[in-house]
């Protein structure tokens, strides 16, 4: 399970968490998100996200 960060605004997508509030189920792989998907916060295209290996802040429990 990987995490991706929007280079336009910093919004983070976590494959483990998905984005249920935006119709993406937990466990959804980045590769399975449509290429025309854009950042829900700033509209930056999916291609402008970067895979990151950054842990969560303590207390912000990962699923």
């Amino acid at each position: 399970m990987k995490k991706y960060l929007c280079l336009g605004c910093g919004f983070s997508y976590d494959e483990a968490r998905g984005l249920p509030e935006h119709g993406i189920a937990p466990g959804t792989r980045w590769a399975d998100i449509p290429d025309d998907w854009v950042c829900p916060d700033c509209g930056t295209p999916k291609s402008r996200f970067e895979m990151v290996e950054i842990p969560y802040f303590e207390g912000e429990a990962a699923t």
Partner: protein, 248 residues
């Protein structure tokens, strides 16, 4: 010395963001106002250049025209966003509850963390010159924070002063990252000692320096890595350099 890249001022990405037109929802201000942005790294439409350096993803050299030009309130997460005011007055509004005015030599560190919005405005009557730096955080979704400070031009004369990072007097940051400033009023040699294996990005605000046989003039920049010590030869008085140290 291991040089990662040398970036002449004219080879940076360039954006012109008018107050009206396609960016109207993002940029406020007087209809004739605009922001110019010279980007050292990829940003927005500019995608053909250097993607970043270490934890740094944005180094933007921006000029806001006066009378209300700026960025409307917009959201961020995670990125640690810094602004270093070179000239004019920056009005900064954020959702942490801060409305701030920053003048020449003032700077802030806004850590967006779990979510925050900000607006950046020039409501003054002259241009605003400001450097924006965006850094990946050491932890995701940390509590947001905002801190500000001022570079003391007299105490900081003819030495390297740490503005952001883990040194006394500097604004702390949750990342292996430092921003320092070197203002020199004469030709002189300086030494910067990064903690290995960090990299160092040097951006010439004004003046002229030589690093690793590369001559840098106004708004030129370069990055080196793997050095115990970086020698910076200032070639003219009135030189002003920002030095960004980052883990690689």
């Amino acid at each position: 010395m291991s040089v990662r890249f040398v970036l002449p001022a004219a080879e940076r990405g360039y954006s012109f963001l008018p107050s009206v037109g396609p960016n109207a929802s993002y940029v406020a201000g007087h209809p004739d106002g605009a922001i110019t942005r010279h980007s050292s790294f990829n940003f927005g439409e500019y995608q053909s250049g250097i993607p970043g350096f270490g934890a740094m993803r944005v180094f933007g050299d921006e000029v806001f025209m006066p009378n209300g030009t700026g960025y409307n309130m917009h959201p961020h997460h995670n990125f640690i966003i810094m602004a270093f005011v070179l000239s004019g007055t920056l009005t900064h509004i954020n959702t942490i509850g801060r409305i701030d005015e920053l003048g020449r030599d003032d700077y802030y560190v806004f850590s967006a963390g779990s979510g925050g919005k900000h607006s950046e405005l020039n409501i003054g009557e002259g241009d605003l010159g400001v450097i924006y730096v965006w850094v990946l955080p050491g932890r995701l979704l940390a509590p947001p924070s905002y801190r500000r400070a001022r570079f003391d031009r007299s105490a900081g004369a003819n030495r390297i002063t740490c503005l952001v990072g883990d040194e006394p007097g500097a604004l702390p940051i949750a990342q292996t990252f430092r921003v320092s400033r070197l203002v020199s009023d004469a030709e002189r040699r300086y030494a910067y000692r990064p903690a290995r294996p960090n990299g160092l990005y040097a951006f010439v605000v004004e003046g002229e320096v030589e690093i690793a046989d590369a001559l840098l003039t106004r708004r030129d920049s370069m990055a080196v890595e793997g050095e115990d010590q970086v020698t910076i030869d200032v070639r003219t008085g009135g030189t002003d350099v920002l030095l960004v140290e980052t883990k690689l």
